[in-house]
């Protein structure tokens, strides 16, 4: 579904991603872990089409298309969803209004009719239950006055409504208490399917207690340093990220030699 090959990305001349390789197939859940500043969020924003990054080399292929050629909304239409680390507030814009406009744009792209108001209401009520989101949130302005946990739940709620093929969760677990974390994780688990892939960006192993990944990758200094199964996450939990520095140092020394 997604194939990232030797991707080098910089911001204002500063290299951030330095040769990322990643293959994600439908039905898989990939966790990308790493210390702060390793490039995790850059990767997620870049995949969703955020402006301001320079692609120095490499390629990203998604469903047999050059993903980097697509506008952010086109990526959304093609099934890419980003659950934001910091969901933005949009005063005066109704939460469900935005969602319905998005859903209809996606449906239109696929030659489907717009969803009727009645059907949509049914749909959002059902999905809101999934993430235990109070119905009052549906009629509020987008993220305005939401607590941190409510914002994250709202993201998962939107994901449930839009039913993406590839969902990228950017540190969705950060700032969540244990109950909210459980709710979010359950929401994700219910959405797992053969046709859908997930990329979970996270700093902590905690989330992976609830969502069992198929693959774990450790991102550091703009490169995937190690990949493995879920046991890698547990190893990280025990040993922290400190070992990365040592290995990176060794790697660069080796390179120099």
């Amino acid at each position: 579904m997604l194939s990232i090959k030797d991707l080098h990305v910089s911001i204002a001349g500063k290299p951030i991603l330095k040769g990322i390789n990643l293959e994600v197939k439908a039905g898989e859940v990939h966790a990308i872990m790493g210390p702060n500043g390793s490039g995790k969020s850059t990767l997620s924003q870049l995949l969703a089409g955020r402006d301001g990054y320079t692609i120095d080399s490499g390629s990203v292929t998604y469903k047999d298309q050059d993903l980097l050629e697509l506008a952010p909304e086109e990526r959304s239409w093609e099934g890419i969803f980003l659950a934001f680390q910091y969901p933005v507030e949009i005063p005066g814009v109704n939460n469900t209004y935005l969602l319905r406009a998005g859903l209809n744009a996606i449906r239109k792209h696929h030659g489907q009719d717009e969803v009727s108001a009645v059907d949509f209401l049914k749909l959002v009520r059902e999905k809101a239950k999934l993430v235990e989101l109070d119905e009052s949130f549906l009629s509020r302005s987008v993220n305005q006055g939401f607590s941190g946990g409510e914002k994250k739940r709202n993201e998962i709620f939107q994901m449930a409504v839009l039913e993406p093929s590839l969902a990228i969760l950017d540190e969705t677990d950060s700032g969540l208490d244990i109950d909210a974390l459980r709710v979010v994780a359950e929401g994700v688990n219910k959405l797992r399917s053969e046709e859908r892939a997930f990329i979970l960006i996270t700093h902590y192993q905690r989330l992976l207690d609830y969502i069992e990944p198929d693959f774990v990758h450790v991102l550091s200094d703009g490169q995937i340093q190690r990949s493995g199964d879920k046991t890698l996450a547990l190893e990280l939990e025990r040993e922290g990220y400190a070992w990365l520095d040592t290995e990176t140092d060794i790697a660069s020394e080796a390179g120099a030699a």
Binding site: A48, I90, G92, N94, G102
Partner: protein, 482 residues
């Protein structure tokens, strides 16, 4: 740099959609202003002597006045002798008796503006007093209104049919000599609407007027007078759009509202005068004086305006709250794009006890637009227990526009409660990206965010107007956001 800013530019560069000129023979007098011109205007309308005298007095006063310079707008000096002060569509006899008699080209103009008169009347149940240049051409629904005792007619007609009301109230809220532009209007006003709601009557329909400037170099001097007797209620809608022109056109209108005991007037405006091109060439100069007098107890006035047009807007719909417990409200959305300049706001003058006022102002600046909010809250010594709440928000789109806020407060009574809140924000990349990530194209996203910003004002508009206002905003901003 980014595709975003290019798209934004494209959006901003959209052409004014109502720019077309209707080719109709008009009855126009030469440019310039002197007492003879005023006599001609008055004579052409067959006005009674008292009106001519009133105009002449205003003219003489105007000669002693000079243009105000305090507003935060810049423009080349206006040559008042280069303006044509009267123009009327030339129709056989004294104008059409029904729609069938109306010049088809005129009707076509309305069609282009999306105001098919007949349909609009049928569907919306709105009585339309369509002003084409200076003379009211079509007035409809008069019979139905007459049943309720409501008078809704051109002011030029009211001068004849209700001279006692005109004599009593014309200039009673905006007196001759009030300001330079209103005084000019008093001298040369062409026509406008007159509304009288008798005691205890709730006007059975919303009253609506569409204005349109058509003749090149014709100043447009509308004058509107609305009187709400005790316990009456009326909602009045005013909307306008003008054709594309290279030369600046002066528009100096006056609107006076008189509200007696327990009466209410709701006055809504959607203004879309030609704003000039992207370099600021052409466009309407809109210098408007609008004022309401809450003369009786528990009187209420509500101004709602959506201002998207004009090269220059100079406009402060005001409320004089004289009656005890009277209420004044001002809800405003002002948008400036390209080189547009707007200096707009309100004045709330609290004279009576327990008077209350609310000001909600939303300014949107894009392109190189300059948007200023200027508001005065004056609590007189007599206004025991007066309250005011002001909220004034600015939204910036791009980095070449500007927003300013000039709030004035004069508090003469220590029991007054006055609150003022102000914010300035930008449509952020984050907001746009968020919407796009959810599948919404950039232009739609901008429109959605701006409409959200204006929501608290739009909800004050009558339904069909709110829809129109939302669309107008989107059209005015097409390309302007990103």
């Amino acid at each position: 740099m980014s595709s975003t800013s290019e798209e934004v530019q494209e959006f901003v560069d959209q052409q004014y959609k109502h720019g077309f000129i209707t080719d109709i023979e008009t009855d126009t007098i030469g440019a310039g202003l002197n007492e003879d011109v005023i006599r001609i205007i008055s004579g052409k309308k067959g006005e009674p002597e008292f009106m001519l005298e009133w105009r002449l007095a205003a003219y003489r006063k105007w000669l002693t006045m000079s243009e105000p310079t305090w507003a935060h707008v810049r423009f080349d000096p206006i040559d008042y002798q280069d303006i044509i002060y009267y123009s009327a569509p030339k129709s056989p006899e004294d104008g059409p008796k029904s729609l069938d008699d109306v010049d088809p080209k005129l009707l076509e103009t309305y069609e282009k503006l999306g105001i098919p008169l007949i349909e609009q009347q049928m569907l919306a149940g709105v009585a339309v007093d369509a002003v084409f240049d200076s003379v009211s051409v079509v007035t409809t629904f008069k019979e139905k209104l007459a049943e309720a005792g409501v008078v809704f007619c051109p002011l030029s007609e009211a001068v004849h049919s209700h001279p006692e009301l005109v004599k009593k109230y014309l200039g009673s809220v905006v007196p001759t000599g009030d300001n330079f532009f209103s005084t000019l209007n008093s001298a040369v006003f062409s026509d406008g609407s007159f509304v009288y709601i008798p005691k205890g009557v709730r006007c059975p329909m919303e009253l609506s007027t569409y204005f349109r400037i058509n003749e090149a170099k014709t100043g447009q001097f509308e004058r509107t007078l609305i009187i709400a007797e005790e316990g009456s209620h009326v909602s009045y809608l005013e909307g306008c759009t003008a054709p594309m022109r290279d030369e600046n056109q002066l528009h100096a209108a006056v609107v006076e509202l008189i509200i007696l005991d327990n009466a209410e007037i709701k006055y809504s405006t959607v203004q879309n005068w030609y704003p000039g091109d992207e370099n600021g060439v052409g466009g309407i100069y809109n210098f408007v004086t609008k004022r309401a007098l809450c003369a009786g107890v528990n009187a209420k006035v509500s101004w709602t305006q959506v201002e998207t047009g004009s090269a220059i807007t100079w406009k402060y719909p005001s409320c004089v709250l004289r009656g005890d417990n009277s209420v004044g409200e001002f809800y405003s959305v002002a948008l400036t794009n390209n080189c547009q300049q707007a200096d707009t706001g309100t004045k709330m003058i609290h004279l009576g006890k327990n008077t209350r006022s609310t000001i909600i102002s939303k300014g949107i600046s894009a392109g190189r637009g300059e948007n200023s909010y200027r508001g005065l809250v004056r609590i007189a010594k007599t206004a025991e227990g007066a309250r005011n709440y002001t909220q004034c928000d600015s939204l910036l789109i791009g980095d070449t526009c500007a927003a300013h806020t000039f709030p004035y407060m004069e508090i003469g009574n220590s029991s007054a409660q006055v609150e003022h809140e102000a914010t300035t924000s930008k449509i952020s990349e984050d907001q746009l990206f968020y919407c796009q990530q959810r599948g919404i194209g950039e232009e739609d996203a901008v429109s959605m965010i701006v409409n959200g910003f204006c929501k608290s004002v739009f909800k004050e508009l009558p339904m069909e107007f709110a829809v129109e206002a939302g669309k107008l905003l989107s059209v005015s901003l097409e390309g302007a956001v990103g």
